[in-house]
């Protein structure tokens, strides 16, 4: 099917085709020209899919979503668990205690804060088809990520630290089944927000996301989801400036 569609394609003398075309024309023209916002959304999603592909994924499907329901409970068997800085392998996620949050990694500065075609900065932790790899040094550059049991995810400044950073407006989730990454929930929109301050300075991240599956067998139903954020830290009292990759406590999401 390679022809263009600048004129109706229905066969001459096909009344049903004529009526359907009339209906389509009415529906299309009633809304007027599609606005630039749609182009922006599409461009953003395309760039993310390309970036995800460069990160080693073989994306077979990606759909709009927001359709994800965030469960009120944590991933079964993980209640109260958190990521252990410095540990490695998926089992490390089952390790420790309260509170939720934080772990970290480093990446090239700026790699995660713009909708570029660069690989996601956290690809070395959550890579399609591979086990979760949490082996990065415990360096969060003074930031912490707090994932509430329901749906709220916030990035804030750790106790006793002072930080200035650019933080994405929306969190990304890595979808994990049996310890292996099966997809992502990518933000629908770009944008960062400036976080500046000391303890108790928080930025809540929105959750407009879309599903990017690692293969044609898309994850559905209840799936373990790890919130992950890459922030560009320009000033911090906890180590050197640079990029911090923060991974939060996993929770269940319901993918329709």
């Amino acid at each position: 099917m390679s022809r263009t569609h600048h004129t109706p394609a229905h066969a001459p003398g096909d009344p049903l085709g004529e009526l359907l075309t009339d209906l389509a024309d009415a529906a299309g023209s009633a809304r007027g020209p599609l606005d630039g916002a749609l182009v922006g959304r599409v461009t953003s999603r395309v760039r993310r899919r390309r970036a995800a592909r460069r990160a080693g994924t073989t994306i077979a499907a990606a759909g709009a979503v927001g359709a994800v329901t965030f469960g009120a409970s944590h991933v079964g068997g993980l209640g109260g668990a958190r990521v252990t800085p410095g540990a490695s392998g998926p089992d490390a996620t089952r390790a420790t205690a309260q509170p939720s949050t934080a772990f970290v990694g480093t990446a090239e500065p700026g790699a995660g804060t713009s909708p570029s075609d660069r690989p996601a900065p956290w690809a070395s932790v959550f890579d399609c088809g591979l086990p979760v790899r949490l082996g990065t040094p415990p360096e969060a550059r003074g930031l912490t990520l707090e994932a509430a049991p329901a749906s709220t995810v916030s990035v804030g400044v750790r106790d006793g630290q002072r930080v200035t950073a650019q933080v994405p407006r929306t969190v990304t989730y890595a979808l994990v089944e049996h310890g292996v990454v099966v997809g992502y929930l990518w933000p629908d929109e770009d944008g960062t927000v400036r976080l500046e301050g000391a303890s108790d300075t928080w930025v809540q991240l929105d959750q407009a996301v879309h599903l990017v599956a690692c293969d044609a067998d898309e994850p559905t139903g209840l799936v373990e989801a790890w919130p992950v954020v890459a922030a560009d830290v320009s000033e911090t009292t906890a180590g050197a400036p640079g990029q911090a990759v923060l991974v939060g406590e996993p929770r269940q999401v319901s993918v329709p």
Binding site: S2, L19, L23, A27, P33, L34, L38, R41, G66
Partner: protein
Amino acid sequence: MAWQSVLDELVRDRGPALLGHAYLLTGDVRDAEDLVQDALVKVFSGRRRADEVGSAEAYVRRAMHTIFVDGFRRRRHWATIRHLTASRETSPPDGPHAPPELVVGNRLALAQALATLTPRERACVVLHHVEDLPVGEIAEVLGLSTGTVKRYLSDGRAALRTHLEPASDASPASDAPPEPPILERIAVHARRTR
């Protein structure tokens, strides 16, 4: 031409046509917008080059059909899902976001009749009667056998005919001249399936 330029031009020049075509499949303008967006993303993030508006539009239309048939309903935006989980009795077949121009006469009757078809029946009817694709090509696009496509076409047209019959008996609500009965205009059996 860079893909961003093709995308800009495609949306600007052909957006309404794509939206209208998507409406034939979804029966709701908001769903149609979601479908168009998903199809654009699929095409422009795929490995196949869409470096010219004409071919890009063809790819997008094809993507709309496959996305719609393969699971658009399952992956749609949450707000849209909430709307669509409403029962048919509480949600008009053309949805709450139908263009006002549609809520009249034969267009409304046709939109309501289309809403009674299954997604695959709709896709087959639209591909055959709007895109003018032969059965073999529809089968290729939708990943179905030709026999299955023929069955969907037959069932779809029969359902359209059944649901449009009451429209031909409806009395006009005003003094305006009555529109021709839609069933007579459609003559759903007048065209042979190739």
